[in-house]
């Protein structure tokens, strides 16, 4: 199958980017990244600079293969990362536009690669639990209700790819931050620090220059892991509860 690609090229963060046209001979069994590999091999053989894109596990769990494909983060298939998207989702002769995540808090490094260290700093602000090392605890010592652990597990599915920010018309990072807040704070081990966690993480999120949620639901629809905006509601009420209800302020 012939694919007409329009790929975003940008030398570095300072330079102006543009869409570059390419023809790629792909196979419908290829993943989208394999199709990009074909393009890059072709570019290398022509002594041109290959398209820079981030990739690692290629099995949908690392959250690095970030591309906006025809206006949709991770492409047209729902619940799928770019590496798990296959060319059978496209037709022979299709024009496919590939762009990087676009948000001020995700500056472009090169071509399709953006700097997502703003997410790392949100995690550093409170996305952890403090547990003393030592003897392994008895796994059954802390009883946890099944519904609660399932809710935490659903939130923990977030791979931090940033598709929520890319999809959001406001480039808000609330789905990501709330997934971490919900995943860590719902379980008893993380509940202890939840009050300060939610305040610290929201504070850092605001400092990074992300936009504000206007409840369009685009994040939830484009999330490759199906993280729900229920988490955002949880973060909103826990944030208000923490600021207004506790004596701590971060």
């Amino acid at each position: 199958m012939k694919i007409h690609l329009k790929v975003w090229r940008q030398r570095n963060g300072e330079s102006k980017g543009y869409l570059e046209d390419h023809q790629v001979e792909a196979d419908e069994h290829m993943s989208f990244l394999e199709m990009m590999d074909v393009l890059n091999e072709d570019l290398v053989s022509k002594k041109e600079t290959p398209v820079a894109f981030e990739h690692d596990c290629r099995e949908g769990i690392c959250g690095s293969c970030n591309m906006v494909i025809n206006g949709q983060p991770h492409g047209p298939d729902s619940g799928t990362t770019t590496c798990q998207l296959h060319m059978r989702s496209f037709k022979d002769g299709d024009t496919v536009v590939v762009e990087p995540w676009r948000a001020v808090a995700f500056p472009v490094i090169k071509d399709l690669i953006v700097d997502r260290s703003s997410f790392d700093r949100i995690i550093q602000a409170g996305g952890y639990i403090s547990v003393n090392t030592g003897q392994a605890q008895d796994g059954n010592a802390i009883p946890i209700e099944k519904g609660r652990s399932a809710f935490a597990m659903d939130a923990a599915e977030c791979i931090g790819c940033g598709a929520c920010v890319a999809a959001c018309p406001n480039a808000s990072a609330m789905l990501f931050t709330s997934a971490k807040v919900a995943h860590l704070g719902t379980m008893p081990q993380g509940e202890v620090e939840q009050s300060t966690r939610v305040q610290s993480m929201v504070k850092q999120m605001d400092l990074e220059g992300f936009g504000m949620c206007s409840n369009t639901g685009a994040c939830e629809a484009e999330c490759p892991k199906g993280i729900s905006i229920t988490n955002i509601a949880l973060m909103n009420r826990q944030y208000a509860g923490s600021v207004l209800g506790s004596e701590k302020s971060v």
């Binding site: 329009k6 869409l19 906006v68 025809n70 206006g71 949709q72 536009v97 762009e99 676009r102 948000a103 001020v104 808090a105 999809a167 959001c168 018309p169 406001n170 480039a171 808000s172 609330m174 929201v202 504070k203 999120m205 605001d206 220059g209 992300f210 936009g211 504000m212 949620c213 206007s214 409840n215 369009t216 639901g217 685009a218 629809a221 484009e222 905006i229 229920t230 955002i232 509601a233 949880l234 973060m235 909103n236 009420r237 826990q238 944030y239 208000a240 600021v243 207004l244 302020s249």
Partner: protein, 230 residues
């Protein structure tokens, strides 16, 4: 007190202000509609004029109306501010990609700021047409019911709605308010953190019904006045 300003100016704090002022304005719409429906009582405006006079005199109503003006102002100013901040944070909003995808969001959720702007312009014109003329000028003449002298706001309403451009303007504005409400109603609850398996479907259903019925109720008034004008 810095914790309070930090809270109010945080991303979630600003959203909460939008949500709470929005809910107040939603409640205001119901009261306003119930009062205005008296225009259709078919009594030449007696009920409505007495009601308008009561609303203009009662100190409690006056106090709430100051709050109402303030919340409209806050909701509008903050909404415009958030629009520009979000546009700057995303580097161009929905049009920042070469291919604009609208599959995952609703028309109204994407255009809240535009609807809000139209509504603000509507409110200013609407206030000038009725509130300003009622309070500041002698345009509605006096009418006497059982010895009580009140301003005849009814005749002003009838005169305004005998004019087809105003009727169209009011009906179109009500459609815009409906679109604004269709996202705003349920969005206000989500922002407050009220997202629940049991209640959210009810809130969404109420929001849809509200965003159709309330603007419809308002839109009927100019239409009836125009069709039944002498």
């Amino acid at each position: 007190m810095s914790w309070l300003t930090n809270f109010l100016f945080s991303s979630i704090g600003r959203k909460l202000t939008m949500s709470l002022t929005g809910i107040f304005l939603i409640l205001f719409l119901t009261v306003h509609l119930l009062g205005n429906l008296q225009l259709l009582a078919g009594d030449g405006g007696e009920k409505f004029n007495l009601y308008a006079d009561f609303m203009g005199q009662n100190p409690l109503i006056q106090f709430i109306s100051i709050g109402n003006f303030f919340f409209i102002f806050l909701h509008a100013v903050l909404g415009i501010l958030l629009y520009f901040q979000n546009k700057a944070a995303s580097g161009g909003g929905t049009s920042r990609y070469a291919v604009k995808s609208t599959k995952t969001t609703t028309y109204s959720s994407r255009n809240m700021a535009w609807f809000g702007t139209v509504i603000l312009v509507f409110i200013l014109i609407h206030l000038f047409q009725f509130w300003f003329k009622m309070k500041m000028t002698s345009i509605p003449e006096l009418v006497t019911y059982d010895g009580v002298e009140v301003k005849n706001l009814y005749t002003l309403v009838a005169a305004t709605f005998s004019n087809i451009p105003f009727v169209i303007f009011y009906v179109v504005s009500m459609i815009v308010i409906g679109l604004h409400l269709s996202h705003g109603f349920q969005s206000a609850f989500q922002t407050l953190g009220l997202n629940h398996k049991k209640y959210t479907p009810i809130i969404n259903g109420l929001g849809t019904a509200y965003s159709i019925l309330i603007p419809l109720g308002f839109a009927i008034i100019p239409i009836v006045f125009y069709l039944t004008k002498a």
